[in-house]
């Protein structure tokens, strides 16, 4: 034995192992990652991968057969009602485990445990918003209802069956790259997932920004900049509908002017916000309007576009129902889809259900706060944050009658120091069982089943469209909405006075709704639910344009077919451009343009209002509008607080349409009195440099300029898809923006054998190395659809079936 070399080379070997097994010296544990039997090579899914497996579990009650088709869509046939959810959980986990877990960790304010301190602010924000408390309240409701209890239990068991079967080598790619392993699933995680959707869809408001706007501008200017009415409005429930008198009588606090409206407080709090364009389109046309004589239902929810996709397509069949559509990996049931009798879809209700109250604590200890002329005790919650590669942190969060104190001295969301305390009252804190709505819709047979199902939808409130083979069509702006006095919750409210609390909820039978209307269709696109004759206050912030174009098209369309509906759903017509460009062209001082300005002016002048991929007019108009908005408002906002609302696009357009001497067109920084023509001309001239630059880069065409991107949840470029050739955009029915747009498009014709089409921008598999990861994206960008197949049990010999998975009781 030769001791010295033995020791030296043993140490070298151990050194190499340490080098390649840790991140001490190199950025990634390359040995672990590249070992062909452990690491990422194991995720290199075989092109002809075999998904045929047999699974046994004691949690199953009977047999379940899953037929997986050539698009990797599972068709689940269960003998028992709850078994279908075990299998759904198993399949969600099998194809999407990493995203399900990440999204629920993020919902619970625990993302920094796996991605480190980049997510720390997000985590604090979510814990302080009370996401976990809210999910626990929902969980209690879900578990006290036998239907949702057995479904979530079975779902959790299915997910955990998969997790237990995972070896190191079978872990999804992202776990390996980030170096962690999945936790066990729980019903709370399902509740958290759904709460995350509430945050996405019912978490939007602009109370701080509007408070500052109200404080900064004079009341008259404020009213001009932020009108509550929209002239162009085409509400969900049409103008002229007669509403009963409100049954809820609200008492507006008597000191509302001094304490609320005339309060000149300024706020520095910077919230994390869901995308304000989280919206959607849905409509249903009656059989009287279609070629087949059967209703057609259409839905395309607009959300942040990510990979792996938010949606997972599947069929769930039990002895009592067959349903098909898209599900959320993370929750049981089909969320948007159809069954043997009917179809349903959603758009976001978008009302303001999140309000802030300024709390006055007695002292630094925050143990007591002033409320209704007395000191009241605070309850504290201690939230522990375990930050990856960082120190553990404990946050002490004060809870008041309104809700948690989200922003205070220790946390202001942004960088500015905030010395005020704001408690949040959020509708999603209230107990509710939204899952039940979807579970009942999955088995709904008729209009009354639909009514019973959607009544469970309290938050996030959704506009539920419905169509049935019986011929019924319907729309409900469903949700449990707080009844607010006019202006309530538009700004931060005083937290010392119980009269500013929400006083009651609007009764469900006073929800704006439509059932088989004479016009032969129902529709919604995140616009105002109703016109001003509706007796409850609806707030602000609704977008009018998609609603206008949808209603305009449906008003005149005849002999409707699914093909026509698909063409409409992917329409790039820009009704905002149609409204605005003529005002620009009418007011521009064309004689002042010279040289290249004239050339570009001639190009934009002839724009056909289509946001098609190759349109240069669409790009030029978008830039012109952006600069016009700056030209009109930047001077007025120069001295404004950093956190402040800007007027909605519709407010500015309607302002200049109504009044060519709209007072904000004057630049207050110059002695001259600028006119609308000056602003339009100047903003065009200032756009020309950008036109030239884009033109030189070959990016003047709309799709190149807009550059739609679908990012992987970790923003890894190679797992993302960039620069997709797709048109549309904000205010088009095809609402595809840069990272946001139609996350699922569906057209369902309710003929005796349902004819349905759908597509989402992604693929069924969450594995970036699978050919099913992003295989639908090109088709989606082109506006094409997959034919959806609600399979019958006896079709198991169909050539589309590629794999069979058998589940049985062990």
């Amino acid at each position: 034995m030769r001791i010295l070399p033995l020791i030296i080379f043993s140490l070298v070997t151990v050194g190499l192992v340490v080098l390649f097994n840790t991140k001490l010296l190199i950025p990634a544990p390359l040995g672990k990652l590249l070992s062909p039997q452990h690491g990422v090579w194991q995720n290199a899914e075989h092109l002809e991968s075999n998904f045929n497996i047999n699974i046994k579990s004691p949690a199953l009650k009977g047999k379940v057969t899953v037929y997986i088709d050539d698009r990797l869509v599972p068709h689940v046939f269960a003998e028992n009602e709850s078994d279908v959810f075990f299998v759904q959980g198993y399949l969600h986990a099998k194809f999407r485990l990493w995203q399900m877990e990440l999204q629920t960790l993020s919902a619970a304010g625990r993302a920094s445990e796996v991605v480190g301190k980049v997510a720390f602010n997000h985590d604090r924000e979510f814990r302080r918003l009370g996401m976990v408390t809210a999910a626990e309240a929902s969980l209690k409701e879900m578990e006290s209802d036998p239907v949702t209890k057995s479904a979530t239990d079975a779902y959790t068991a299915g997910v955990n069956h998969y997790i237990s079967s995972l070896s190191e080598s079978a872990l999804p790619l992202e776990y390996k790259l980030l170096g962690y392993t999945p936790e066990k699933w729980s019903n709370l995680k399902t509740a958290l997932f759904l709460k995350n959707m509430s945050e996405n869809l019912a978490g939007g408001e602009s109370d701080f920004e509007m408070t500052n706007a109200k404080s900064f501008f004079t009341p008259a200017d404020f009213a001009t900049l932020f009108p509550l009415q929209q002239d162009s409005l085409s509400p969900i429930i049409p103008v002229g509908t007669i509403y009963n008198k409100a049954t809820v009588q609200l008492a507006t606090p008597t000191d509302v002017d001094s304490l609320y409206y005339n309060n000149k407080d300024q706020v520095v709090t910077q919230e994390q916000k869901p995308d304000k364009d989280n919206g959607s389109n849905n409509w249903a046309v009656a059989g009287s309007r279609t070629v087949s004589g059967a209703p057609i239902l259409c839905n395309d929810p607009h959300l942040g576009l990510n990979l792996p996709s938010l949606w997972f397509e599947m069929q769930l069949s039990t002895p009592t129902y067959n349903t098909y559509g898209v599900s959320f990996p993370g929750a049981p049931a089909v969320i948007i889809g159809y069954n043997d009798h009917c179809s349903w879809g959603v758009t976001n209700g978008g009302r303001d259900v999140r309000d802030y109250y300024e709390i006055r604590f007695k002292d630094e200890s925050r143990k007591e706060y002033w409320y209704d002329s007395a000191w009241r005790k605070t309850e504290f919650k201690y939230e522990k944050f375990i930050v990856k590669d960082g120190a553990t942190f404990i946050d002490t969060i004060a809870y008041t009658v309104f809700g948690p104190v989200m922003y205070d001295r220790s946390f202001s969301g942004g960088r500015a120091n905030n010395n005020k305390n704001y408690a949040v009252r959020w509708k999603a804190h209230d107990p509710s069982n939204e899952l039940k709505a979807f579970m009942l819709l999955n088995r709904a047979k008729n209009y009354s089943d639909y009514l019973g199902a959607v009544a469970n939808m309290k938050c996030p409130g959704q506009n539920f469209v419905f169509a049935a083979k019986s011929g019924d069509i319907a729309m409900r702006t469903q949700g449990e909405w707080p009844a607010k006095w006019k202006g309530q919750g538009d700004f931060v409210m005083p937290g010392t006075d119980g009269r500013y609390l929400w006083q009651a909820m609007i009764p469900n039978d006073e929800t704006p709704a439509q059932y088989n209307p004479a016009r032969g269709y129902v529709s919604s696109a995140n616009q105002y639910p109703a016109d001003s004759s509706y007796p409850y206050y609806l707030g602000h912030g609704y977008t009018p344009y998609r609603g206008i174009i949808i209603n305009k098209m449906l008003d005149t369309m005849t002999a409707i077919t699914p093909a026509k509906m698909m063409a409409m759903q992917t329409s790039n017509y820009n009704v905002f451009g149609e409204t605005t460009l003529p005002v620009f062209l009418k007011n521009i001082q064309a004689e002042k343009l010279q040289g290249e300005e004239v050339k570009f002016y001639d190009m934009v002048k002839t724009w056909d209002y289509m946001n098609d991929t190759s349109s240069v007019g669409a790009t030029m108009f978008a830039i012109w509008w952006k600069n016009f908005d700056s030209c009109v408002f930047d001077d007025d906002y120069k001295k404004a607080p950093a956190i402040i609302s800007r007027p909605y696009e519709s407010s500015l357009v309607e302002g200049i349409l109504k009044d060519s001497s709209y007072r904000f067109v004057d630049n207050i920084e110059t002695p001259a009195k600028e006119t609308l023509g000056d602003a339009v001309t100047q903003s065009f001239k200032s756009s020309v440099d950008e036109f030239k630059r884009l033109s030189a880069q070959g990016r003047l065409q709309w799709a190149r300029y807009k550059s739609t991107t679908i990012n992987h949840l970790l923003r890894l470029g190679v797992f993302s898809r960039r620069n997709l050739p797709i048109g549309g955009g904000l205010h088009c029915i095809n609402a595809t923006k840069t990272q946001h747009g139609p996350s699922w498009r569906m057209v369902v014709s309710l003929t005796s054998t349902t004819e349905a089409y759908g597509i989402f921008p992604g693929g069924q598999s969450g594995n970036p190395a699978s050919r099913f990861y992003d295989n639908n994206i090109n088709k989606w960008a082109l506006g094409e659809y997959n034919q959806l197949w609600l399979m019958k049990r006896e079709e198991s010999g169909d050539k589309r079936i590629r794999w069979v998975v058998n589940f049985s009781k062990s």
Partner: protein
Amino acid sequence: MKFFISFLLLVALSVTACLFLPWWIIGLVAFIVAAIIPQRPIHSFLCSFLALFITWGGLAGYLSAANDHILAHKISVVIISRDSPFILILATMLIGGLVAGFGGLAGSYIHPRYREEEKIVFTADHETKVI
């Protein structure tokens, strides 16, 4: 012959061990194989290096080809900032080869100095001289 047997043993044992144990077991496998089958250190190193270089190359290459290199194209960008399945496979091969190679090298020193002459002596019935 020893080289060839060691090589085969390394391939078989490392693939089997990696089914149940962490990847770095290949270093220990190479150490043990070199300790059991004495070779000159340089031969033990080369034998272990090549065995894992080729095994890991074969496995990674097969998996990657069956996947049409979708994974390798993407992961190579993440790990080495270059879109090159070839370099990713080569990196895999080198890591396997190096860890096993040095494991084998260390293992070979379990034995006393190994000389060709001794081998001749040994076969000429002078066993006592070996130790």
